[in-house]
Every structure is written in C-alpha cells, then in structure tokens.
Symmetry: C2
Subunit: 455 residues, 2 copies
C-alpha cells in the first residue's frame, strides 16, 4: 500500500507518523511545496521576537529525522492535479506519482490585501510558510527596521506586535473590527489591548488601510481609514486565512460553504480513497454539534493522527470535535478561551448568561498571589456550560486552568456541576474553591436572581 | 429556625455562610473549642517557614467578619453532650443550647505518640489547631531552635520539614512506612524525598521512635528504631489523624468502621436533624463508588456548603464524591495526584496498567522549558482512567494540570478519551499534544502490546 500525503505541516506529518507506527510496511510519501517539512510555524513570532536564536530550532523534526523513520519526502514540489480515476498525482516536478490512499493536508492560504500587494514591496510580508518566516527574519537582521505596521489583530497579528515590541521595533497594530483578537469577549480584548499598549504598541481598531505607497528607500507609506498617516520600515499582513482547497475542488471533492474540504469523523472526503485533515478541512464543533471552519494547530495534529489511522486501515478512532480552545501569550500575560462567546451562543438559540469574576490564583496570605479574571457563559434554560475565558499572568497558570474548563465542556457539564469537581488545593498553589468554582457559584446565584425577577 | 454548628473550621463555617445566604432569617450559631474560628490550618506551615509574617493573616475571616454577616459565635467552648430527644446541647460553659438543626463539623484529632507524650515536654508539638500553631510559632521565635525532628511524612510532616529547612533549622524527618508521602506512588515519593534531601532535610523511612528522653535544657533525645540517636531542640508529631466523632458516638449516631460519622449524600447523619461534614465524616469516593475515610480541606468546604443548604431546607444538591485530588509543594517543586494508586486499584479488583512519561511543559525551543513527570493508571479490561500523578516545578503548572485529569476522572473517562480532549496550545505555554495526552497515547500503546502478548 502506498500512502501519499500532500502537505508537510502538522496534519500531514501527524498522519505519516501514525502510519509508520501502525503499518510499518506501508510506503509513506510526503510531498510539500515548502523546503521545510514539520516546521513549527506557530513558533515564528518567537524567532522574530529574538527569543529563539536559530530558525532551525523550529523544526519539530528535521527532514533527516523523518527519513530515518521511513517517511519519504519530496520537498519544493507542488501537486498540480489529482487524477482520481487512475489514482495518480501530477506534480510541478513533472513526475506522475501513484497512490493507493491520498491524504490532503494542504492547510491555508493567507487572505491578501491588494492595496499593499500592488506595491510589490520587499518590505511587505505575509507570515504563512516557513520560507516567509525565514525571509522576514533575514530582513530584520539585515535591514534593522525601526518601525513596523501589523495589519490584523488575530493570533498572528497580536503575536507579531508583541515580537516587534520585544525587539524594540516601534509598532502600530491595526484591526478592521471594533476590537482586537476576535476570539476574546470584549472585556478580555480590552485587557489584551492594554497589555500591548503598556509595552508601547500603538493600536487602532475599526481601522483599515486607505492608501499605500513606497519610498525610494523601500519604506512603506500608509494612510489609514482613520486618516492617520505613517511611514514604516516593515509591514506584516495577518488579516486571516482561507482553506487551501483548490486541489480538492479541481478534482471534484466536496467543499463546504466556506470552501473547506468536507470530511466525516474519520477524516474521509467524499472520495473515500482521499482523506483530508488540518486547516484545509471543516471541523466538527463539539458544542455547536455541526461542522464549522476553525483552523487550529492542536486540531490539525489530532485530525492528522486520525487520518493516519484510517489510512492504516484502523477505523477505530473518530474525531470527537473541537471546542475552539485557544491560548495567547501577551508578554507576561495570558489570555485563554474555550467554547462559545456570548454573541455566538445567542445566534445558536441559547439564552446565555455571561458573568465575570476576579479571584486570586492562590490564597492571598501566601506571598505572590496574582489576580485571575475569569468569565463563565452558560445557558439559562438548561444550565449547560457554554464557554469560559480567562486572563492572568503566566504564573497564574490560566494556560492550563482553561483546560479544566475544556474537559468540563467536552463532557457537556452544567455550570452547577463545576462546583462539585474535586480540584486540588494547597494555600501556596490554589484555593479551596478554585476560581472556576467561585465563578460557577456566582453564575448559579445570578441565574437564579434573573429567573426570580422574570417570574 | 435555629441552626447550631459545632466546629468553626472549614466545614462549619462553609455551612454557616451558605445558611446566611439562603435563609437570612435563620439563626446561626457556631460553637468552637478554639479561640480562632475560620482559620487556615493548612496555612500554618507557611507561617512556620517564615514566609507569612503574621499569624492573623491566616484568618479566612475574622470573628468580627463572621459576626458582621449575622453568624453568632461561641468561642473557647466545648460541646459536651447532645440530647437528641430534647434537641439541646450541654456545653463546657454550663449553658444548655437548644437547636432545631445541628451540624457537626468536629474535624479530626491527631494520632498521639505515647513515647513522646510521656515526656510532657514543652519542646514537643502536634500541629492540629490554630492554638497549636500559635504555640509553635511563639516557641520558634523565642527559643530559636537550631534542630528539629519531624515524625511522620504525610502532608503536615513534609510541609513542616520544608518549613523548618526554609527557616534554616536542621531537620530530620522520619516515617514508619517504607516511603514518604503515602498518597504518592513510589516513583513520585522518591522525587519528593530527593527535593527535601537536596535542601538538607535528613530522611529515614521504615523508621520509628524507640526511646525518648528530655535534657535539663528541654532538648529532646531520641533513639530511632534504626538505632540512630539524635538530640533536637524541637519535635513535631504528624503521624496521622482520626475522625473526632466522640460527641456523635456518645449520642448514638451511626459511625463507620473507621470511626467516622456516617452521612448520606445530603450530609445527613442517622438522625436527620443532625448533619455532619468535613474531616469527621466518611466520604463518598467517586471511583471506588463507596464511602471511605479521606479527610481533605477542599472536601470539607464542599460538604460544609451542602450541609448548609440542607439545613436551609434546600435539598437540591448532593455531594458528588471525592477523587482524593491533592497537591503538595516541596520548595519550588510540586507533586499532585488524583484518583487511585496502583496497589489500591488492584485491591479493588481492577487490572491496572501504570505508565510514566517525561515531557516538557512547553515546546523545548522556547526558552525556559521544564520537565514534567506524569503517570497514568488505567484499567486494562475497560480502558477506564483510574488515576494520574504529576511532578514538576511550580512553573510547569502541574498544580492545575492535575485538575484537568480530575475532571476527566470525575466524568468517568477512558484513557483513550483523553487523547481526544481539545486542550490549549501555544509554543511558549504548551505543546500540541499535552503531556496528559502523550501519556494517554503511551498507555494505549502499552496496553495493546500487553494484550497482544497475552493472547
């Protein structure tokens, strides 16, 4: 059996590793456009911040590591077409590569911004592939930029603004929406914004690029929609992504309304010889109980592993769904979220109650206590937990406290059940009622008050 | 309605607070032997370590705080007998106090060590009540002890050894069992022991006190069962606790085989006018699915709140059970556990597989990664998760990672389901496969290997 995998990032490599484990006799070939497979694109902001010195340390595994365990690689090669009838791929290297099972891990394409693309400027960057990161880092090291504009304040935009500020590059971050970081409820977006502002990042929301031009020395001049103008040494565009599904589309595989590849819980496309996983596919959302588009690295790993199992003829393990669990570091602070936001939950027909509390990460009498800001979103009708958001310093461990909520959500708990959980307590490390339980108790109290006053 | 609560610690005060909230017109009286109600006994080791400067900062709430919200207090008063027929308490203050509902939060008594009790030495301490802590702290401040013997290496023993070492008191810790900290699997007990030894604590396991005597200047001379002798300025005895249930027993309320007060899931004793909660009662164990004796502060808070609800005539909320979740700080390291240990699980009729892994707390390419040691115990027959233990530096957040496992255990997950959880990922804060998931995957791998080799 020959399994060919298109794409050498998280989903593709996870699939390949699983096949090597389960079917050591299967042939596994990864074809990727990039020069670098199994590269941590999520780690790029920390290369650009200067916290990681060497580009090569961002390899999860080197090409040699992968080949050593029997995974064949064809790098710098684009798959141009899939001939499903003959089960053959046409590639940019003019080779025709047969497959028994094909796995598509084609990932995303960055949304483009024409007003800046039109400049064809060497100072304008997207941050999508390992090569993009390599090019940006080389630019920073050789040109020593003093100022930057980051367009788009999602994951990459915020992390790049942090990176540039850490590297003492004067940074402006702009966002089309009326708040930064759309995964955060407004209260938490404000905290993230304050953390960035405190370190000198200048932020404009409800703001886009009106006009752009280039100076003779490759600086970029931008006029914003709020009529401000600025001239910067460097522009990063991070205005979102779209599934890279053109190969699937061209061969007639079913796509979702958002253009993502449609898969079942075994990651099988509409052609069962072709599996797909990661950022190119639509994702089952465990709370919405339907498919949505929610590309995340952690999900790509899981889906890739399942695709690898199915390609290994082990149909035992289905994808159980995403909760949209995410965590963002902003300097020494952390924002974390799992589940729905209130606006979204209302659209889904829930009757949401959103409450927010402040609590210490451990007993205040022990030195070094820090505040945690924590919100709970629940459905007033059924009492079901719908979402949790947190913000605090790295030392408060909100990056793992969110996982406690994620397991509760996975298990479809009510808010009330969270009060019953047997969580750990020790004065220097916690409280007898964990902040999640304090918030849950407050949610119950408020939902009862609301119920009584509405009778 | 008049609710009288015997005991002013976690369970009693939690009950009182809940009643004030639900039934503001009920009269609530707490009677306690201690001078200090609502005191954090769990915080005492950090007073004795010198990390907390003021004894009074260990009040969760002061007597004035409690009285301000309408909770009446009778301090320094012992309840001598319960007349259930007339619903009246006899007290050490010669008063007869009537009740409609009685809540017993009488806690524990420390196990005594006769060989040292017989000395009647001012240098020998138990660490049980706020007054014990006050006396020990006063002793340390006035006598400036240079050496200490801690007998018993459970929670209090280990924390006191840490406290004394932090205060530059040369400390010997001895333990009758063949490992310290009995809640830890042997592999983890070794790590805790190493952390203590590294800071100069000398430890003897399988070791007790053979003989003890007192010098003229109140030093204590001890001969250990391993034939070593030592002379110390201070002895702390922490060889375990037993439920303080004599009041309940004397009035004919049902006790368990271990002498704990028998309660149902509403914390009602065999006399439904009398509720009981906290360390004096037996506790429903959620995995064993039966009652056991497992006194813990976090449990006492939960049970107390439920007793308060039931006393407030709100029978809506039942105690859902303990998992034995515990966390221990040892200097800058943390041990955490939830669920069963392998020996215990075997006794319960499970076919346990115990595996242990080492993993980084976040992607190793980002600076500051630290190792986490993590074990998973599962049942080979059903695949059910039975227990998780972890060890790592405070910065690895194992103190909250354990709660992720605790929710999985609460929800009766299989080990395999843990791989499907949507946990947070960001390179500086985690990994795409969380260490818990890495361990779960390893458990599955090993259980399959074992299954195949046994066919």
């Amino acid at each position: 059996m020959k399994v060919v995998i298109v794409g050498g990032s998280d989903a593709g490599v996870s699939a390949a590793l699983r096949i090597r484990e389960l079917q050591p006799n299967f042939e596994v070939l990864i074809i990727t456009k990039d020069s670098y497979p199994n590269f941590s694109v999520c780690g790029l902001p920390y290369l650009h911040s200067g916290e990681i010195g060497d580009f090569r340390s961002l390899f999860h595994r080197t090409p040699q590591d992968l080949e050593a365990i029997g995974i064949k690689l064809k790098l710098d090669t684009e798959v141009l077409a899939i001939d499903r009838t003959n089960k053959v791929l046409a590639t940019s290297s003019a080779e025709h590569i047969p497959y028994d099972t094909l796995i598509l891990g084609t990932g995303v394409l960055p949304r483009r911004l024409a007003v800046l693309d039109d400049l064809h400027s060497p100072s304008v960057f997207y941050l999508h592939s390992p090569g993009d990161g390599e090019a940006l880092e080389s630019f920073i090291r050789t040109k020593q930029p003093r100022s930057a504009l980051v367009i788009g304040a999602g994951y990459i935009g915020v992390e790049m603004a942090e990176a540039f500020a850490t590297r003492a590059i004067k940074t402006c971050l702009i966002e089309q929406n009326n708040q930064i970081f759309p995964s955060a409820e407004a209260e938490f977006a404000t905290r993230i914004q304050d953390a960035l502002t405190l370190k000198g990042v200048s932020i404009h929301t409800s703001c886009g690029v009106e006009k752009a031009s280039q100076t003779v020395d490759n600086k970029v001049r931008v006029t914003l929609t709020n009529e401000e103008s600025l001239e910067v040494d460097l522009v990063v565009i991070a205005i979102g992504v779209q599934p890279n599904s053109k190969l699937a589309k061209a061969t007639g595989i079913e796509l979702s309304a958002q253009g993502a590849i449609v898969v079942d819980s075994y990651m099988r496309t509409s052609d069962h010889s072709i599996l797909a996983a990661g950022d190119a596919v639509h994702t089952f959302h465990r709370i919405l109980e339907r498919f949505t588009y929610l590309p995340l690295g952690s999900t790509a790993h899981k889906q890739g592993a399942i695709a690898g199992e199915v390609a290994s003829l082990h149909l035992t393990h289905q994808f159980k769904g995403s909760l949209g669990t995410q965590v963002l570091k902003v300097f020494e602070n952390v924002f974390a979220t799992t589940g729905l936001k209130r606006g979204q939950s209302r659209q889904e027909g829930y009757d949401p109650l959103f409450i927010e509390i402040e609590a210490d990460d451990h007993k205040a009498y022990y030195p070094g206590a820090n505040k945690i800001y924590l919100s709970i979103l629940g459905d007033k009708i059924t009492g079901r937990l719908l979402g949790v958001q947190m913000y605090g310093k790295v030392a408060t461990a909100v990056q793992k406290r969110i996982d406690v909520a994620a397991v509760a959500l996975y298990s479809r708990m009510t808010v009330a059940e969270m009060v019953d959980l047997d969580l750990s307590y020790n004065p220097p490390l916690g409280s007898p009622w964990d902040p999640l339980q304090v918030a849950a108790a407050e949610w119950i109290r408020r939902s009862q008050v609301q119920r009584e006053s509405s009778i």
